[in-house]
Amino acid sequence: MKEMRDILVVDDEPVILEGISKVCSGDGLSVDMAENGAAALAMLSLRPYRIVVCDIMMPQLDGFQCLEEAARRKLSSLVVMATGFSTLENTVKSLSCGAVDFIPKPFTADELLSVIRRTMRLSAMLGPASSGEPGPQACLVHVAPPQRYYRMGYISWALVEDAGTVLTGVTDLFMRSLGEVSGVSLLPAGREIAQGNSCAEIRSADGMAHGVMCPVSGKVLERNAAAEAGPELLEKDPYFSGWMYRLLPSDLERDLQRLLAGSSGKF
């Protein structure tokens, strides 16, 4: 097995491969490219990668099949889905299938980097399984969402309240993957949000803006002003006082089907 590299980009569109490769190498990461799912799987069997950035809509082997295959081979690579708005619903599904994050196309260099950097940190935190050389933050203890919570990948959580409203927030792991947080912007009350869309922006110390994917579609009834005023609240108590929104869900049943149980899975 060869030495571990940082990123494998899989996309059937050369311009996107080149673009992602350029931005990521510019950030000092090692990047390889594959033009289709089969080539990607072949490369994955040759050497380990920390992150696989994978398109969903590809001819022959699509993103989901790659995800399944990666899971079957028990690869340690974290998969980030890159896809257009048109397949937003698929993206949410991909998060419940084992992808850790996703980046909606088209993206700017910074939007891409914010996702890549936090996923790199996540990869480091979860411990490089194949390289054998634990990183400095490896095996960091993180707190999974409590029982009764639903989560969208490792990013956000949702809690159905007795009144039928839904409380949402970000996971401890997501906050930790951002590094130091410098600010939070939340949407005003009354706004409609769709599941999988960005509902908040968290700025990290490295100047990146991270979109938080909303786990449930609905209308914002209330936002946590305390969290916006002091973003450290999200880091300290992400599951209780560090909530973000209270939503009036529009189609809760459907949304919940695409979410995972709070404390399940590999995170």
């Binding site: 996107i16 257009g84 005003p188």
Partner: protein, 621 residues
């Protein structure tokens, strides 16, 4: 093919019936005719016999044989008489108009004698019928009628001087008169021929008349129905049968039109949703296709922008590329949002909350324009059943429009709410109007306050024109609109099929004039007085419903106002007063949303002072 046609079959049956009836009638008619004629001839012959007997009686008594012979000779020469002869009891011909046979013996088995002498002992009395016989002398000769009259023995006979006859004889001899039936037979044949010609002509005329009417009343409409059915089956749902009749086939055609109309409406709706679905698919496809190149541009340009730190000029240019590409991204995103548009979802909602949410959305824009939003809510507003998202969109649009009208100088938008109970008269819009033959009377070109008017063709004397009725029940904002004065006998008609809209049994209770009427599907008939100036109208279904409760919200701005010429058209699709800035769809969409809620929107404006939009939503849906 011809034999299978319904019209042909009907005509054929009618013809055969006529043929049989007239045939039987003619048969009996000719038979009775010839009988009557013969009876007449018989009577005539009998009278003649009597006349011969009377004429010769005296001479007989005197036994003037020569005179008798001459008399018989003379009489026998009459053209209507063939022969007169007298035979004695023994069968000897004593006198005859045919001299040659005098003295000859007649065979008693001959047909003139047979009747009495058939059974040996001769009969003494004979009925008229039995005395006559019709025979042909030769098979090829014409018919002849013969009548025999016995010459009875009378006291004067045996007391006469000649003493030829004894007292004991009952019958002295027989007078036999024969008459040719040539003329009678000719008459009979003539009459038979006439009846035959008449019968044939009658059957032919009957067939023609029945055939013609069957063709007009059955064949043609059935053919048209068939053609229409085929066209509809071929997918032409706009095809309408011209209904010009009010019998069952006319009703069938009307029902057919109705069915096609409903079908086409359903298909249109299906088509509409199908169109939206395909548009959605198209949008999704375009979004996907455009996303990849857009990603290339955005990634590279933003990457370049990051690296162009030291070159401010290039940074500026790159910023433009990044900004515009991100704008394209938003367009693609909204295209997809449109494709995902959810179906209307009505729930009970507090209108104030909906307005507050709408105000929150435009908060920033209003603040930038230095616009103050003042809310004057009434305390007792009941909840309304609405699609909150759609109604919120209505108010967002109205606020944005108001802010645009106010411009940069700053101003005030005032939102007031109130509850009001309205009589349906003057508020209920007629959204559909049909003539008796189900033609649409709405004129979408000629609108009154944004609503399609109701168009009626009016003919008064030689003049003809269109009357545009106010679509709001009870209002008459259009006036008559006719270029001429409609007289009291004016005809009110459907512009399409010219069928009369005048209600047959109703007169205006106010002025007694004729009343027009049209149908609003599922909501009964709307009636109105035809006399210009008379405002009487009646719509029983709506009158019966009583007053309706509305929530009224007025959005008043202190902006530039709307010129009068635009005011009438602002709710029309693609009519924009913002030149390049707007699509012209905003107010049309609002109008559509409120229309779906059975609500209304109205506008009043004063140039330079501001505009007031009045939204009314019924409390009960």
């Amino acid at each position: 093919m011809m034999m299978r046609k319904l019209g042909f079959k009907l005509t054929l049956v009618a013809c055969v019936t006529a043929l049989v009836t007239i045939g039987i009638f003619s048969f009996f008619n000719t038979r009775s005719d010839s009988r009557n004629l013969l009876a007449e001839v018989e009577r005539h012959a009998s009278q003649l016999s009597d006349a011969v007997k009377s004429a010769t009686e005296y001479d007989m008594l005197l036994n003037q044989r020569e005179r008798i012979r001459q008399s018989i000779q003379r009489m026998g020469n009459q053209p209507s008489i063939q022969r007169i002869r007298v035979m004695n009891k023994a069968g000897e011909i004593i006198y005859s108009s045919d001299r040659g046979e005098i003295g000859r013996m007649v065979d008693k088995k001959a047909e003139s004698c047979y009747i009495c002498h058939s059974d040996g002992e001769p009969l003494k009395r004979l009925e008229m019928k039995e005395r006559t016989r019709i025979f042909r002398a030769r098979p090829d000769a014409s018919r002849t009628l013969g009548i025999i009259s016995p010459i009875y023995n009378m006291p004067s006979c045996w007391t006469a001087a000649c003493h030829v006859h004894s007292k004991s004889q009952a019958v002295l001899g027989v007078l036999d008169v024969t008459m040719p039936l040539t003329e009678v037979d000719k008459d009979i044949r003539q009459s038979q021929l006439e009846i035959l010609v008449f019968a044939g002509g009658a059957v032919l005329a009957l067939s023609l008349i029945i055939g013609l009417f069957v063709k007009r009343w059955v064949d043609a409409p059935v053919k048209e129905l068939l053609a229409a059915t085929r066209r509809v089956a071929d997918g032409d749902l706009r095809y309408m049968i011209k209904v010009t009749r009010d019998d069952e086939l006319g009703m069938l055609a009307e029902a057919f039109n109705n069915m096609t109309h409903r079908l086409s409406e359903a298909r249109l709706q299906l088509f509409q949703s199908d169109k939206l679905a395909s548009l959605g698919r198209l949008a999704a496809g375009v979004a996907h296709e455009i996303n990849n190149p857009l990603t290339g541009v955005l990634t590279y340009s933003s990457y370049l922008l990051k690296r162009a730190g030291g070159q401010p000029e290039m940074q500026k240019d790159l910023q433009v590329i990044v900004r515009e590409t991100m704008r394209s991204r938003e367009i693609v995103k909204s295209l997809l949002d449109f494709a995902r548009q959810s179906v209307p979802n009505r729930t009970k909602a507090d209108i104030h909350r909906v307005i507050d949410l709408a105000a929150a959305v435009v908060e920033n824009q209003l603040a930038i324009n230095k616009v103050r939003l003042v809310k004057e809510y009434a305390p007792d507003i009941p909840p309304v059943t609405i699609d909150s998202n759609q109604i919120q969109q209505v108010f967002i649009n109205l606020f944005v429009n108001a802010a645009d009208a106010i411009g940069q100088a700053g101003g005030v938008i005032t939102v007031t709410s109130s509850k009001l109970s309205l009589s349906p008269v003057g508020t209920t819009q007629i959204k559909k109007a049909l003539c008796p033959k189900r033609h649409d009377l709405l004129d979408r070109e000629y609108r009154i306050d944004g609503m399609p008017s109701i168009r009626i063709k009016v003919r008064s004397g030689a003049e003809e024109g269109f009357l545009h009725l106010d679509p709001v029940y009870g209002l008459d904002r259009a006036g008559s609109g006719l270029p001429f004065e409609a007289g009291s006998g004016a005809a009110f008609m459907c512009p399409e099929c010219s069928s009369s809209l005048i209600a047959p049994k109703t007169t205006c209770p106010k002025c007694g004039s004729a009343v027009y009427a049209f149908e609003v599907p599922f909501k009964g008939m709307v009636e109105g007085c035809t006399r210009p100036g008379c405002k009487w109208r009646r719509w029983e279904a709506v009158d019966a419903a009583g007053t309706m409760e509305f929530v009224e919200v007025k959005v008043r701005d202190t902006g530039c106002g709307i010129p009068g010429k635009d005011l009438a058209r602002i709710f029309e699709p693609f009519y924009s007063t913002k030149d390049q800035k707007g699509t012209g769809l905003g107010l049309a969409v609002i109008w559509g949303i409120l229309d779906n809620h059975n609500g209304t929107i109205g506008v009043e404006s004063e140039e330079g002072r501001g505009t007031v939009f009045t939204v009314r939503i019924p409390v009960k849906p």
